[in-house]
Amino acid sequence: MTVASTLALILVVLLLSVAAWTVVARQTFAAVVGFVAYGLLLSIAWVALSAVDVALTEAAIGSGLTGVLLIGASARLRVTEAAASPERPGALLRGLGALASAMVAGGIAASVLSLPEPAPTLAPAVAEHLPSIGLGNAVTVVLLAYRGIDTLLESIVVVFALIGVWSLAPDRVWGGYPGPRQYADPNGILAYLGRVLPPIGIIVGVYIFWVGADLPGGKFQGATILAAMWLLGMMAGLADAPPISRTWLRILLVAGPLLFIAIGFAGALTAGAVLAYPDGYAKLLIKVIEAALMPTLTLTLALLVAGRPERTARG
């Protein structure tokens, strides 16, 4: 057994142990904390699979933002935990559930062991077109040129999810501030981190966005770091999200996808296909789209965590 496969085996055992803990832990809060640790281990697994762009996304969004979201929810739902224990299914049902789950896992494992050889791949097709785009990071090229339609729809889906979250607001607070008001000790560690970390985090976020053209990184990872810095300020009571009725906020939320759609349809006239780029302008247009999506994604991701409006616009 080589060193690489030994390390991978250790990682898999850790990963599955922590994942099992998040399922069986008695307290939801403990399970959620386990989930954050699990997300970081999963990021290492992505690096082991040579998917550094995915590792960054997993660490930032899968572990970080989802973790903040679930920790906040588990704190607010803690009072409901005791009422749920009588609803727990009996040993027979749990056994049947375990059997069904084991069968599904076994089926997937069987398909893992019988994957086709040689493995199908689109990498040569990407490599062939990479020089004509002018970017060094193949994943960014896939996201914005090769599979631009997915990224366009995704940037719309996150805004739709935010509209869904907002639409859960009762009429009385519609247009108001998202989430409950946060109080933190002004001399506490949270307020300290809320002041010290954002200047560093903002630079890291913008850097990750900027190098995404040629190195692992990009707008999703960069926007998530910026959103995390904003959320840190909110949780420390140093900043507040704007009321959702603000016109500038709504314009910024749709500006990124709208510009993406406009450039996409302009491609039908200038390059012969929707979401195609005219020769020589691909890199410029991709950076324009990414720059326009940054504010939209930062605001959307942070506001998805902040939740629906719970305070009136008057405060």
């Binding site: 898999v12 559930g97 789950s101 199908p120 090769y146 009762p170």
Partner: protein
């Protein structure tokens, strides 16, 4: 056993663990957490397929990598919507149970500050 196959089996186990959590845990938030495990298992399986597709100087097929990044972001927004629904249910009924006979509170909006 090579490294991608090992992570492929890990992905299968994650789906199994997550499915067990969704089936047996009565709390909706725990079901959501377990559902995220299922999603991670699917993503990891796709990542294994990407790693096996290494060619043309890439350490992995970049097309699945792009789709995975899209998938992780969409999974997060779906989780955020689910959490918002759950908190609204809690605010409206005072409980977070999925059983049919949950008590309802007529003046749900008045509890809101």
């Amino acid at each position: 056993m090579n490294v991608p196959t090992l992570f492929g089996l890990c992905a299968a186990a994650l789906v199994g663990l997550g499915l067990y959590g969704v089936l047996t845990n009565p709390q909706p938030l725990r079901k959501l957490l377990a559902f995220n495990l299922i999603g991670n298992g699917v993503f990891l399986f796709f990542g294994v397929i990407a790693r096996r597709g290494a060619a043309a100087g890439f350490a992995g097929d970049p097309v699945p990598h792009g789709l995975l990044i899209t998938g992780i972001v969409v999974a997060f927004s779906a989780s955020a919507l689910a959490v918002a629904l759950l908190l609204r249910l809690f605010q409206a009924t005072g409980s977070a149970t999925l059983t049919g006979d949950a008590p309802t509170r007529a003046e749900a909006d008045d509890r809101d500050v």
